[in-house]
Symmetry: C2
Subunit: 762 residues, 2 copies
Amino acid sequence: MNGNQFVYEINNTDLDNETLMLNESLFHTANGYLGVRANYEEGYPADYDSIHGQYINGYYDTDKIEYGEKLYGFPEEKQTIINVVDTQGIRLSIAGEEFSMFDGKVLSSSQKIDMERGFYQRSVHWISPRGHELEIRIIRMASFTVLPLFLIDYRVKLINFDGDVKFISTHSGSVKNYCNPNDPRVSATAVQHIITQEATFDGDVSVIRAKAAHSELELTSAVKNRLSVPCKTEHTVSGDVLTEELTAQSQTGDELRLLKYTVLCDERRYPTTQESALRILNEVTNTPVQELYDGQRSYLKKFWEKSYVEIDGNEELSVALCYSLYQLLQAVGKDSVSNIAAKGLSGEGYEGHYFWDTEIYMLPFFILTQRETAKSLISYRYALLPAARKQAKLLGHKKGALYPWRTISGGECSGYFPSGSAQYHINGDIAYTVVAYYLMTKDIDFIAEKGAEIVFETARLWQDVGNYMDGSFHINDVTGPDEYTCLINDNYYTNSIAKYNLIWAGKFYRMLNEQNRTEIILKIGLQEEEVAEFQRAADHMYYTYDEKLDINPQDDSFLRKEKWDIAATPKENFPLLLHYHPLYIYRYQVCKQADTVLSHFLLEDEQKYTTIKNSYEYYEQLTTHDSSLSTCIFSIMASKLGMEEKAYDYFCQTSMLDIKNTHHNTKDGIHVASMGGTYMSILYGFAGFRLKESGIWFSPFLPKSWSGYRFQIHYEDSLICVHVTQNFCEFTLKSGTPKELFIYEKAYLLKETLTVKCTGRE
Amino acid sequence: MNGNQFVYEINNTDLDNETLMLNESLFHTANGYLGVRANYEEGYPADYDSIHGQYINGYYDTDKIEYGEKLYGFPEEKQTIINVVDTQGIRLSIAGEEFSMFDGKVLSSSQKIDMERGFYQRSVHWISPRGHELEIRIIRMASFTVLPLFLIDYRVKLINFDGDVKFISTHSGSVKNYCNPNDPRVSATAVQHIITQEATFDGDVSVIRAKAAHSELELTSAVKNRLSVPCKTEHTVSGDVLTEELTAQSQTGDELRLLKYTVLCDERRYPTTQESALRILNEVTNTPVQELYDGQRSYLKKFWEKSYVEIDGNEELSVALCYSLYQLLQAVGKDSVSNIAAKGLSGEGYEGHYFWDTEIYMLPFFILTQRETAKSLISYRYALLPAARKQAKLLGHKKGALYPWRTISGGECSGYFPSGSAQYHINGDIAYTVVAYYLMTKDIDFIAEKGAEIVFETARLWQDVGNYMDGSFHINDVTGPDEYTCLINDNYYTNSIAKYNLIWAGKFYRMLNEQNRTEIILKIGLQEEEVAEFQRAADHMYYTYDEKLDINPQDDSFLRKEKWDIAATPKENFPLLLHYHPLYIYRYQVCKQADTVLSHFLLEDEQKYTTIKNSYEYYEQLTTHDSSLSTCIFSIMASKLGMEEKAYDYFCQTSMLDIKNTHHNTKDGIHVASMGGTYMSILYGFAGFRLKESGIWFSPFLPKSWSGYRFQIHYEDSLICVHVTQNFCEFTLKSGTPKELFIYEKAYLLKETLTVKCTGRE
């Protein structure tokens, strides 16, 4: 592995407000449990905007949803991620002057993420207005081994003066969520969700016991500062803001190091939050800090060993790719109460909700390389089944489960059902992923225990929602992934994923019966006749098809509409949803994102090659890619269809989406699904990987400007390394039993190593 | 005319809360400008619910509309009718005891509306707990000759005691709108919209100058009490509640009479509200009260002379019919800033908004009998054109005007666009009515001045919203009148009314050109080519048609859905919209109200008889009549199709809808459109009246149990009386020039009287 790819760094950052807010997201620190945005410890000038934030995955408040007109079944309240107590604050005062990037002179500065060592580092070389020169280096680490721990390791070196150095370290319960009333993608109202119950010093530990305003879920934060040199300390309690000042007399050449430990324990994981927080804080402060760093490094070593993807020949993309996988790790909740929020733990965009993109865009990475995490994510959905059954009932269904379109703990949080609850495809997406997990692992135990119940209950819903007409099974009035047409009939994507869902309900039913593992079947009262009905619906599933164009229209009326002229639309009018009324958008052939094309990727055997190719070309001209979930799928399908340059171009767009802020909203948080899409563009795109009942398939090509790429997957009991270069594709069995592989549609048996000429899709 | 039909009366009212709230609506007093609910002057017990209300047509506040997710173009704020200052309060204290229906003993009581004299009267014969016996008679009148005047004429007679009689008359600015957060048909939040600026006594006149909280529109209310006997008066000002106590020493046999004059002047009609209110109050208090009563009576005499409809042979229905027409008069705004709210001035349901039902359900009555009022209602729409052009632009259209689905002063107030702003058919409804006004009056001046501009601009919108596909002109993603399927393509109703709109734009264009009255054409830059495009779109308008069933499906996918089993649906689950999620409802063949059937009524020449008949039968089994706009249309069409009993049955349902509270929400206000539907069921239904370019058509039948019915219409320059009995139909030219009539599809010339055998639709 090339060490450089593990460092994402920028130097001499612009200090304009927009850049700062972008970097707050890009350089956030998270470990799947907690996340902290990369706000400057010392703050910005008063007139600067900032999303000053610190979050816990799955720790939420509830809030009433208001409607202009509330109809039956509209959710009464939503859950929302909480901007919890703020422990980022460290002001630095030297000889009476306060350090600020906006005062004095910044000789150099940098921000970087070290993805091998698992931390963020900020370095500044600064001269104060009165000429005091400092070197500052601040490391932030969200520990992967002690999840509630967030550490700031603040070092300052005095270059040219003697004097008092004072650290003013704050711990504040006075925090509001960020809002923007004009952007449907973030919360519309500024609310203080976290309410301090008690804020005190317990010795040199500052403790805030707080509750979420409405959900009343408790959170305790405990903070301890430790300075490397003897100092005078002073504690101040002002309402719910706790301040510790640490002052040390210092001299030129001294390096002072402040370790600020934050431990955050929420009630969903730590029933006695205060006791847990204090205990864990005590443990970590009694552990040498180097041990914590070492633990972090070795955790990441294991992670990269299993999950690496390397590119030879393009350093920028190597870093972007590595950054993507690292962000997936930072974002993913590994307990069954949390999942992956659309923005991970990097911001408040989409209010910390979990959507379908976990399954379709992010789980592939975990299923292929981090099996235990994949299992945990699916277990999260399993735990949601009771809520999903309730949602199905609320929407009038007699049986089955309907997963909420957006949620934290299970309740539907969608405030606009046409592009929310109407997206029934989420049911199929989740079932699809259970099947993928099974195909990759053959873990029938997990299927028997949890997976099959998900697939059965979602299949039941399809059975209930659809109806027969003229011999076909139709699904009416749902919305597909492309939210630029809503409440449509026979959405190709939905129908195809529903069919797969129904078929696999039957397969799992037979499998479990054969193995005499019928607990779930009995528990939910699934009958032979019901399963036969699943099969009948699948067999008669209606697929839109236009003979003349040889494409699958997105829905039954898509082709009847006028085509939107994307080229003639002013650049500033994208994304369309922020500039046109939905009624207007719905009336055109225009797509926010891949929809039919996505189905052609996930379920490629449902259509013949020409239909897939024609559809790709048809939809490509109608797709604005206003969704961050779009370009990766176009990249994968361009790969499949042999359009290598196009595939590469879409891949570059996907991998640079946040780093280059191409969607102009990375300030609200990174787009984690697009990170998953970056991974998929290489695996499913360039390498042509497919996971099928028949086994695993490859069909690699090498992008022209690269000299090679490599990755590893975990298939059944085996670890398989793949290395693609210009001339050959090399498959290595790193561990496990021999495996059959399909390479360029030919079967091979991989025993140790297997080398095949790299031909691409000729 | 039979005098009895002009009195709607109930005796010995139940005092349960539900009945009282119903009667507050049924017996409200209004004159098209102001309306006052029939709350008891002395109030109810403290634990009783009440919609204590007083309103001014078109006087509104604005309020933010909140959304769970706000998309582009969603209205930011709505207008809402204001529950203005309360001047209903008169408490009566006799010898230390307060009169209350809930105390002592009510020997008899009654409430009635006298529709010839134009007032509401409440009578009570009461004995107090201590045995004091009273006869009370209270008249309320909203003057049709002095619109800002609301009079309470309170008489009390002492039967068996001497003592002090004290009237405590209040004038309060402390008023909130009624709310019910769980019913989308009324406001969700209790808001005080009216904010007192000043509350004082000016001599014996109490004056409140108030402003609407957000719109800041001003309103002054001036109240004066005048007792018929010498008395002691006392004034109290407590915040914004002004109280006048009038105490008189009285004896057995005395009858005391308190006249409480309220004058309400709003800023939209009276720029200097306070000056106007005081001036008008001064005028009316200096007019003998009998003169006011006489004026009211003679106003109504003229009204009934032009607008009477009489039934011989069923007194209950006669009264109900009379009640309906009277309510239309009470509800209709006769200045161009106001229109007819869905609930008239009887309550706050639908927030005082004006909808399409003014045009389709209420204007026919005015067009046929009260031409000036019809003109004023259309002028209201004309005044809205700038707002409608703005709305069109907001919804992405390049030209034309799109009328707001619900509004007071022009801004779209719909908080749920799928069954709000998406109802583009309102454009066609308004244009249809302009044409109807023209056909009835041949008033080309009004067309040249205002009417044509409406028809041109709405036609432009159809041209813009539709698109050609496979040779037909399609209108996609709109909602028809039936809100149980939304955002559909080629809604038959919408397409047919759009076609009519487009055709008439061409007709008016040619007409105005021929007459050299092209001001409007030049003003809006309408070109010959554009008009040709209107015609082309009309010629190619797509009509859904199912050959096998020989019906017009409601939209392009209606027949693909399952039929809702109405018979199997529990009674308590109606109206469906309050018990099922819209997604669920949208997925079925089920109608809230007539939709295609309505088009077949309005535009009967667009389809052949069998298609109309088959459609009627098809939709009848799928229609829940959850909308109050439904049964009247089914009645009319049953009449047309010769199903006389069914027609009669639907007519009875329509005419009794409020009186029998069959929709269970008359407490929120009466259903004025259904009142119009009652009228239409007789004219268009039983009498088979049609207004066409070719002239006026009749095709009468007599409902079995009646002995006859009569009415009069104003056609062109002529007043024509129609009398239908079992054997004959008699047409009389009351004034004007001879007219050609089509009776049972045969042409006749009406010179003086014309008698035709009553055959019905054989």
